[in-house]
């Protein structure tokens, strides 16, 4: 290929122009939220100013020192982390079963698993509410307003996604490797531990990350199936929108705080996210 220096420079400049524009589009909404979170109530009104003139951190200190917020934060961390771990383990087992065993109606089971993610949430809240308050009742204890309730419930939308993602990954691992390990005397757990898990690691990582993010971000179920003890941070966020007037500054501050853990994860795990998201749709 004979491309002159001039052409190469032009092309590079075009690429950067494109990406800088893209970055602005991506970041301006988030930037605006940051600006709002750094302003007092009075400063918000009037001519919108995208520049930040001074740091007003009261919104953050108000949110961070609020004991309810701290509880929400802990709940969110516990719920999404446990859910992600649970989903990774269960999805790996389920995917392995679907991929390696001749189960009757395998394809239909797989599709049925996915349909669990499709249910419009509003109407399903009612049966879930009844289930959480009455069906699972041991003495005075119910699933309602517990972390374990949310952890299990979030599997309904995270497991289908995880299984779908992992199915392609596990299908892509040659079955001969399993056989070889078995001939060497490995049992089922040995195969899973020494063959499947290492080879499916990028896929597993993405599964865990996305499950974590989905659980962290979930709002509707958390809002309706918890009251005090197990409230999560997204629910707390929505509590700022009240009939008496929304406290936009604190709402924005809290949204910024909610964003941080997810952002950290993206930055740290960026490489795996791309590697693992093929859904096995492409095979060499």
């Amino acid at each position: 290929m004979t491309t002159s220096l001039r052409q190469r420079v032009l092309r590079l400049a075009g690429t950067y122009a494109f990406w800088i524009f893209g970055t602005l589009v991506t970041l301006i909404p988030i930037w605006w939220m940051f600006v709002v979170s750094m302003r007092s109530r009075v400063e918000l009104f009037g001519r919108p100013n995208l520049m930040l003139s001074r740091f007003f951190t009261e919104n953050y200190t108000n949110v961070l020192t609020d004991s309810a917020f701290q509880r929400y934060m802990t709940n969110s961390i516990v719920v999404s982390t446990s859910n992600a771990v649970l989903v990774m383990v269960l999805a790996l087992l389920a995917t392995y079963a679907l991929s390696r065993y001749k189960l009757t109606g395998r394809d239909n089971i797989f599709f049925w698993l996915i349909t669990n993610r499709m249910a419009p949430p509003a109407a399903f809240l009612l049966p879930l509410f009844i289930m959480f308050t009455r069906t699972f009742r041991i003495g005075g204890w119910t699933l309602y307003d517990t972390q374990i309730g949310l952890i299990l419930l979030y599997c309904v939308f995270n497991l289908p996604f995880a299984i779908w993602l992992l199915k392609g990954v596990v299908d892509g691992i040659p079955i001969e490797l399993d056989d070889a390990a078995m001939i060497d005397g490995a049992g089922l757990w040995g195969v899973l531990r020494h063959v499947i898990v290492p080879l499916a690691a990028p896929g597993l990582a993405v599964t865990g990350i996305l499950s974590w993010v989905f659980a962290w971000n979930e709002y509707l179920f958390a809002a309706n199936l918890t009251s005090v003890n197990a409230r999560t941070i997204t629910t707390g966020l929505a509590e700022f929108v009240t009939v008496t007037g929304t406290n936009w500054g604190e709402l924005a501050a809290m949204s910024m705080i909610t964003l941080i853990p997810s952002a950290v994860i993206v930055i740290v795990a960026q490489r795996y996210i791309v590697m693992g998201l093929t859904f096995g749709a492409v095979k060499e």
């Binding site: 605006w32 087992l93 009612l126 879930l128 966020l237 929108v241 909610t258 993206v266 996210i273 093929t278």
Partner: protein, 290 residues
């Protein structure tokens, strides 16, 4: 060596959880869908009324309107996401300094909670201090108020969804593009194919399964969107999508029977749509391996 009982055993925890928290509520909703049940009505409790709810929804202008809106929302949002996502992924297959930084920034919206996405966009468009209405008015003399103009509310929802979900499409496309073997592309170039021909006859067929899977996932999630649009517009005109309509029927109106029947129909439509895509994906894959 591979005993199918072991297979079922491995699958069972997943099946149990999904049967309890997914399938049981589904059966309940299905059952309630065939009953009249409104807490505020004169008769108390559930009254079996056969297909009445379903007959009612066929003539329910509000419901049909919500289906139309959802369809428009899904088509425009997913369409733009796929095109944009593909272009961005294509740009990311090139190497240039600072690429990973741009990629990280581009991935950020995907990780923001839907409810926070709604909050962010509401802050942008809210009359009074949002910059969007202010600058549109000032520069283009355009009246922008999502509470008043249904079309603007719909388009704002679409743009918000595109902002939120394009990164997901970009990432799956990027994964798909990097997995395409180099040889066919090189071969086509050697044979004198134009860039468009390479894209149309080589890249696209390879990308098809990824593309369909991505569209499948986006359709599934777009149809049940509630949180972000609710936070953005509070269920105002132009954003009464099916998910939000169900919400309004079930909660403020406590019309459980009718709400359940709408849910069943919506779920049914989603499943049919996705089933067709699923066949397209897996049929293709079978064709390749056999």
């Amino acid at each position: 060596m591979r005993n199918s009982r072991t297979g079922w055993l491995l699958l069972s925890p997943t099946l149990i959880i999904l049967l309890i928290f997914g399938f049981a509520p589904f059966l309940y909703v299905l059952f309630v869908g065939f009953n009249q049940w409104n807490v505020f009505s004169a008769e108390d409790g559930l009254i079996f009324n056969g297909l009445d709810n379903f007959r009612r929804l066929v003539f329910d202008a509000d419901f049909l309107h919500s289906v139309g809106l959802t369809a428009r929302f899904a088509i425009f949002a997913i369409g733009s996401e796929v095109v944009l996502g593909f272009v961005l992924a294509q740009m990311l297959t090139r190497n240039f300094p600072g690429k990973s930084l741009f990629r990280i920034i581009h991935t950020l919206p995907l990780m923001v909670a839907p409810i926070a996405v709604g909050a962010i966009w509401r802050l942008l468009v809210i009359p009074g201090f949002g910059p969007v209405p202010f600058f549109l008015d000032r520069w283009f003399d355009l009246q922008y108020q999502i509470g008043t103009y249904p079309d603007q509310a719909l388009w704002t929802s679409v743009i918000m969804d595109v902002w939120h979900w394009t990164p997901f499409v970009t990432l799956t496309m990027l994964a798909g593009l990097t997995a395409i073997p180099k040889e066919p592309v090189e071969q086509a170039k050697v044979d004198g194919a134009s860039r468009f021909q390479v894209f149309w006859y080589v890249t696209l067929p390879f990308l098809r399964p990824v593309l369909l899977t991505t569209v499948f996932i986006r359709i599934m999630d777009a149809i049940r969107t509630v949180d972000e649009v609710w936070m953005l517009a509070g269920g105002g005109p132009g954003t009464r999508f099916t998910g939000i309509y169900i919400w309004r029927v079930v909660f403020p109106r406590t019309d459980y029977g009718y709400g359940s029947s709408i849910s069943i129909i919506t779920l049914y439509l989603t499943i049919v749509l996705c089933w067709l895509l699923f066949i397209a994906i897996s049929g293709r894959r079978k064709g390749e391996t056999e």
